[in-house]
Symmetry: C2
Subunit: 345 residues, 2 copies
């Protein structure tokens, strides 16, 4: 296993740790903006292997990250299920709303693989083009997060419609969660077969769920997905990102057989180092730190590296790279992490 | 001390616990909507003692809550500092943005008490009108939350502008935080002098802050405010609500000399019961539970009451009452809490 990223997920504590950044391919890169302007729309970019491959590779060329993550979006799954998804410039995604069994009955995973074939093709091409020591990460959204976009018809602050449906009509909401979970299992297995060497599950809105619902709508479906994918592909490492789970991170790790968890920006790495089981931790530099850059960014980075030294750690941000980030700042961060040696804070 | 609410804040574990609900006066009540329609605007309601008193009393008459909370808004402080605040129907608050020292220099606390005199008058009238056993709570927003509204010019999802300013120009941002903190100290002391018997500090956006900034922008200013208010009024109990602080709740409680903390909806009460110091806990039923109502709401309520039985607990929600809540459901909740006796779950 030549990839430092995969070694770390297998339980080795490497120093310095491997590094990649969520949304490392994206609007902060001029070469991304140029290519984005050529595509008809955002989903067109995700579904065109030539473009998606190129976008995925852009940050690898610039920074030599230890892992490349498939360029795509978590909403390709509802799109593949027949729930209309559009990306409106400056407004975020708009989805056909699914709020009852009639809406649910319009969805089907019959055409899933056909719809997502370009994604698998992207992965195949990437595996050929990437250096051997650069791991290829596939991903999907977690059912709670994906289902809440479908119920809300887009993004939201508190996901009140989704949370209300989940309580008022748990049978309908469960059926939606199960459908997304099953589609996600099929999708992730196919990603592995197309060349993904690790998988990440994004539960971006896990943080709005109170404990009992966190268990029901985040922990349970993710356990089902991870277990099922590993039944078919026992060696595939899986990272979960239950963003905002707070004190519930521990319950999550104890319940879902993941190889790693990604920690969000607000999470205390001191607490993580003391209190979380010895799973691989990924994260969690504040993306805002890259906007100001400078020595404070490096101080925060050093603190994080020191705190997690001696345990399996994949350096990353606590959330995605922000569009106004200066690409030179990313270079400075990567160089700093790569030259890091443990020290006192 | 005849108020069960104040007894609990003083450290007594009462069974059943006292109850009040955040945003217990508000749009879910038909009598509120009727009165709201008579006021010129939302701030007009806050600044007109006759109306603010009436709105504060409405839920007390209906449900006999153990505490009444002054009807007002956290944004009256920036408004009193000279930062223009408008409430646009259906859009939330719009503020004059403050992003540099020029903006900061337009603000002053010279006219604070004159501007906020109607709020003090509301408190004086309320103290006369409320039953002796109904405690009167005054409140203010915490500096981080109030300052982020001022920097963003309104609400936001991640408060990126405020977070960036705090890192890029900590001198300017510190000055803004200090100004808000000093105004808040003056404001809260005057609230106590006008009749408030307890105070609550709302740090609604504490959850977006990573640990070091949580300490700097949430813990530090709140410690300053609580310490200063208690120097003048040693017996005034103070509750803080660092919403979304997750694992950092413990650090907060260990650092800020509050009498109680309010727990948000996502917070695990099991964890709180095990891990938090023996401060009075307030919360944290999910406001969504009141939308579906029914036995599941009562089950969640019973779980919460059982978990916190034996320690000082003020029953409340994890966030405000939602506008589509049925007033009868609130009645059912209050009756259930009032008739509660500890049992196994």
């Amino acid at each position: 296993m030549s990839s430092r990223f995969l070694q770390t997920l297998a339980g080795e504590a490497l120093s310095p740790p491997p590094i990649w950044l969520m949304r490392q391919a994206g609007r902060y890169l001029p070469e991304y903006r140029e290519l984005r302007a050529q595509a008809k729309g955002f989903l067109d970019l995700c579904y065109t292997p030539e473009l998606a491959v190129e976008v995925t590779l852009q940050p690898i060329r610039r920074y030599g990250f230890d892992a490349a993550i498939l360029f795509s979006d978590i909403l390709v799954v509802p799109d593949a299920l027949g729930c209309d998804v559009r990306f409106v410039e400056g407004e975020g995604p708009k989805l056909e709303t699914i709020r009852d069994s009639a809406g649910l009955s319009r969805l089907s995973k019959a055409g899933l693989h056909e719809h997502l074939a370009p994604v698998y093709e992207t992965l195949r091409r990437l595996r050929r083009e990437l250096p051997d020591d650069t791991a290829l990460i596939g991903f999907a959204g977690a059912p709670w997060t994906v289902a809440s976009y479908m119920v809300e018809g887009g993004g939201s602050k508190e996901f009140q419609e989704a949370r209300t449906l989940a309580r008022r009509d748990p049978v309908c909401f469960s059926a939606l969660i199960d459908l997304v979970a099953e589609a996600t299992i099929d999708y992730l297995k196919a990603q592995v077969e197309a060349g993904a060497q690790a998988l990440q599950l994004f539960d971006s809105w896990a943080g709005v769920l109170p404990p009992s619902e966190f268990h029901r709508w985040c922990v349970r479906p993710l356990k089902m997905i991870v277990t099922s994918v590993k039944e078919t592909h026992p060696d595939i490492p899986i990272i979960a990102f239950p963003r905002g789970a707070g004190v519930k991170y521990r319950h999550f790790i104890e319940s879902v057989p993941v190889d790693g968890v990604s920690l969000d920006t607000s999470f205390s790495v001191d607490w993580a180092a003391d209190q979380l089981p010895k799973v691989c931790l990924q994260g969690n530099l504040d993306p805002i730190a890259l906007l100001s850059g400078g020595d404070e960014m490096l101080n925060d980075t050093r603190h994080l590296l020191n705190k997690l030294a001696g345990r399996p750690h994949i350096f990353n941000l606590g959330h995605g790279v922000l569009p106004p980030t200066n690409p030179d700042t990313v270079k400075r961060l990567v160089d700093f992490v790569r030259s890091y040696r443990p020290s006192s804070d």
